[in-house]
């Protein structure tokens, strides 16, 4: 039965992938005027213009162009960078692992922070900790991550000199300097995540703490600690699983800003530089990879949710 459910979800993912890839592809249609000229600039020679036009397949009908592009993309061929001539998939492979490290750290911070604030807020209702959690839950989504990043740099790098302001070392090369350098970007990335998880988990915990089975547990004499950790939390976490899955997409987008500020050589920085250089094949490649990642994560989230929730019948 579970296999059938899995297949049904998978069937839903395929049109999703087709639609989003079509959107990514049609971005090129938005370029006003001749996209090839727009990419190469006015000084390009005639041969170069024609070559790129052929390379992009722009001399063919649009739908055909799309299928051609999609076919190549499935085979890992995303063309070459217009600016540097590097293979797009190569550039993506170099940067993807960096961005993933950043996102995973951001995710860990978000989940740990969200759990901490939500649980303390429920454990000590109307205490100062409760107010801190609620304040954080409101502020976290209102403060732009570039602002957080800069405040962190000013305090922890420039004033206190605890950690370097910019730079990145991969975890496989030097774990210690990786940790030093990832703390600030990881935290700027996760602030919104902490806020969202805190808010959702807190309201979800409030609901389950009022549920009959928790009241029954209380009347049998369990402590507040046990009521939260043994009875409430498991059920309250369930809707938060979806929140965490959705957070992944937001975070992936936010890496663009965080990587630019902290000079981390990931996909976000790649795409920002590519836009500056009108390197459209790179932009397409990055957007495509990010979208596919988001869709895959959403798919996994759905499956995890179904596995965790005994009420869902496949």
């Amino acid at each position: 039965m579970f296999l059938k459910f899995l297949l049904r979800r998978l069937l839903y993912v395929i049109p999703m992938l087709l639609i989003t890839t079509l959107i990514v592809f049609s971005l090129i249609l938005l370029i006003p005027g001749d996209p090839v000229l727009a990419m190469l600039g006015d000084s390009a020679t005639h041969e170069k213009v024609e070559e790129l036009r052929r390379q992009l397949g722009l001399d063919q009908p649009v739908m055909l162009q799309y299928f051609h592009w999609l076919n190549n993309a499935i085979h890992g061929d995303l063309g070459r960078s217009i600016f540097t001539g590097q293979l797009v998939d190569e550039a993506l492979m170099q940067t993807l692992f960096v961005t993933m490290q950043l996102v995973v750290v951001g995710m860990i911070f978000s989940i740990v922070g969200g759990l901490f604030f939500a649980i303390t807020s429920i454990y000590f209702p109307n205490s100062w900790m409760d107010y801190v959690a609620r304040f954080f839950g409101t502020l976290g989504t209102a403060i732009p991550n570039f602002l957080v990043a800069m405040v962190l740099i000013i305090f922890f790098s420039l004033k206190l000199n605890w950690v370097p302001a910019t730079g990145f070392t991969s975890i496989v090369h030097e774990p210690v300097s990786f940790l030093q350098q990832i703390i600030l970007p990881g935290f700027s990335l996760s602030l919104a995540g902490i806020a969202v998880i805190t808010r959702h988990l807190r309201s979800s915990l409030m609901e389950t703490m009022d549920a009959d089975y928790v009241r029954t547990a209380y009347s049998k004499g369990v402590s507040r600690y046990q009521a939260i950790f043994k009875h409430s939390l498991q059920n309250a976490m369930l809707p938060v699983v979806t929140t965490i899955g959705l957070l992944f997409g937001t975070m992936l987008g936010a890496t663009v800003v965080v990587e630019t500020i902290f000079a981390i050589p990931g996909m976000g920085q790649l795409v920002v530089n590519a836009i500056g250089q009108r390197d459209f094949t790179i932009v397409q490649g990055v957007v495509l990879v990010m979208i596919v990642m988001v869709i895959v994560i959403n798919f996994i989230t759905d499956i995890v949710y179904a596995l965790l929730d005994p009420r869902i019948e496949y």
Binding site: N145, L147, M150, L158, G253, V272, V287
Partner: protein
Amino acid sequence: MSFKTIFKRLMAERLAFISFIFLGILVIIALLAPYIVPYEPFKQDLTKVMSPPSTEHWLGTDGLGSDIFSQLLMGSQTAIKAALFAIMIPLFIGVPLGILSGYFGGIIDDIFMRIVDGIIAIPAIILALGITSALGVNLMNAMMAIGIIFTPQFARLARGQTLQVRSEPYVEAAKISGAGSVWIMVRHIIPNISPPIVVQASFNLSIAILIETTLSFLGMGAQQPEVSWGNLIQQGYSMIDMYPWMMVYPGIAILLTILAGNFLGDGLRVALDPKQRKS
């Protein structure tokens, strides 16, 4: 509920009241900004580079001697303009599409909703970057991109609400008495689905400002002579080790505006909810 009672209920919420006043003042400042700025926002005065706050320059000057206070005022205009423009696109395109899709249903509805799901799956900043990079980097295109990002969210919301309202007895009654589809949609569906859309719109005003400042910060939004709070923070960032408090004012401006938008949205949600009858 009449407009007057909704307004009264909104003003009874303390935070919403304060936010409403704040945003009102901000809109007035934005409208008057070109006439009340003490200096031209980018007028250079190299004798007064990076001067601290004084009676002459209330918030000091930047690296080229331009008045930060004037830049901040002009930035409010950009923020308000971007937010209002960006919200118009989903309201006038997304909402009608959502209503039509939900009202008529069928295969068109299915296809339409798959497209909407697809666009929503794309991280907002990434889509905005993709669109602006294709259209060309300037404030107008950034605003368009934000509007395009919002459109599927509003279409989905409007569709969901329409599905609920469609089977209400008063719609059935209107149908039986011979009302046409257009009449039902305009007279019955739109008024009844508007409260959640208004609430969502007020939240999205904040999100629009957040995205606009982010794009401008990355250099993908407002370009000189347009001023955005995001640009000002970007300038502050380039001098972060010498003059770290240059980004404080635009930072506070962004934070307060977004908070005010969120509180107003919260207040509207309560005020427009007919179930919460507070005295």
